[in-house]
Amino acid sequence: MNAATIMTTNVATTECDKTVAEAMRILRDERIRQLPIVDKNNKVIGLLTSRKLLYLTLPRYISEGLLKDVKFAPDLPQFHQRCSELAHKDVCEVMDTDFKKIGPGVSIMEVATIFVSAEKPVECILVVDNQDRLLGIISPWDIFKRLCEYTEKK
């Protein structure tokens, strides 16, 4: 089994010039958690992740790990302000460009390894062809979903 056999192929995407609010609507309506951002040729240029959005709403001295615990402090006014400002921004301003992408032929053990050994948590892996055009998306559960089907068939 390889990436192509376990990936979800019908992937909702959005484009660079859409606002975060529009992207959120897609996430809600499609009941998904990740939204790849593609250009006109279906080439992946970024990924909208909850982690990156949270990262952007926090002051950098917190998101960079200099203040690991803020239990002692009340909420910052600027945190709330940034949260609400986020809605009007274009997705390309806030997308994660440091996402994981693989070719369709990659083995599922390698896919599992990427999820486990990445330096920062990986929410999903994008499957692309050799011109970076989106083919599908893999979440950690996809590995096991296909494994179940496989064992049931046996």
Binding site: P59, L66, K71, F72, A73
Partner: protein, 422 residues
Amino acid sequence: MLTAIIVFLAVYIILIVDKFNRAVVSLLGASLVILLGVLDQGKAVAGIDFNTIGLLIGMMIIVAVCQKTGMFQYVAIKSVKIVHGEPWRILVMLGCVTAIISALLDNVTTALLVAPLTILMAEEMQIDPYPFLFVEILMANIGGTATLIGDPPNIMIGSAANLSFMDFVKNLGPIVLIVMAATFAPIYALYGKQLKVDSHVRERVMQFNEREALQDIPLLKKCFFIFTLVIVGFLFQHRIHLEAATIAIFGAAILLLITGEDINSTLEKLEWTTIFFFAGLFIVVRGLDETGVITILAQRLMEATSGNIAITTMAILWVSAISSALTGSIPVTATMIPLVKEIGIQMGGGRDTLLPIWWALSLGACFGGSGTIIASAANVVVAGIAGKAGHHFRFIEFMKLAFPMMLLSIVLSTIYLYLRYL
């Protein structure tokens, strides 16, 4: 002889240019000293002052564990609430807390603990954190001057001249307090009036809950116990005939044993760059020393001052202050130490004759570290944290205020040294 001088100057120039990691530069310099035959490896390794390295490592381990308890944040928040969130008083309180913590820990750790908290507080009050951070940089350098472990130059000087924790406190404590007081005056003139906030903003600061900053109470108790033990060890250092490195490493080992902290993750937190920077620098300077250049320099200096201890002391104070501000206090101190030792040999007389010069070197190197944003590690760290928070420190803007204030502290030191020792 020429080889050693060239390597030394090259290392210095590359450090000033600041394009490459300083540890890499110093290790490269150290390797060249051996490869080019200035020293053999045995002599080079003997040039490393393991008392300095041991004390640095020991304290870094203790601090790495203690930091996790949140005890320093607790003190900082508590101090802010004592003054009811009034910004100018917060500035003074945080300045004093920074000075005290910096005297007991290294400056970099102090900066890492206090600066993010300060920015959070300033943002909570919606005022500019710059004056707060500026004062904290100065206070980290000034406070660190008061003790053996407060600032790396003192660790080196204490080791070279066999001076104890208490020697530093007794001799440099008074001038440190004077310079602290003198530092707040111009800051008040510049920023005092601007620092006003409404009472509902002050309320926000009063909502900070310092108890929540404390993380792990059992760990806190162990850390507090060992930290106190180590400081007491330093206080009686001469009476128990132990080097500072032994006390620090012993404390660190006991702390690791009783807390069961993961050794790998603790050791990862150590500032290895600084440690290797020191080791390499010691070798480069030993190479220079071996060639006799430093002896010649010392002779020239003695001729110029005609052996007058007062003039020599002032020369060391001012030269080390200005050069520390421009190149950083650690390389300056490493180079000055063999020079001062050589002066001691040429002057004759006992250890006591040389003491004013050691104090001059410490005051010059530590206070000089405030002069520019690159002069000491604490400055670089605070500027880095501020930059990440979107409050950028500009080299010139910082220097416009910091350099004159550094000169003020050196003028005060000149008067102090003259009145007390000369």
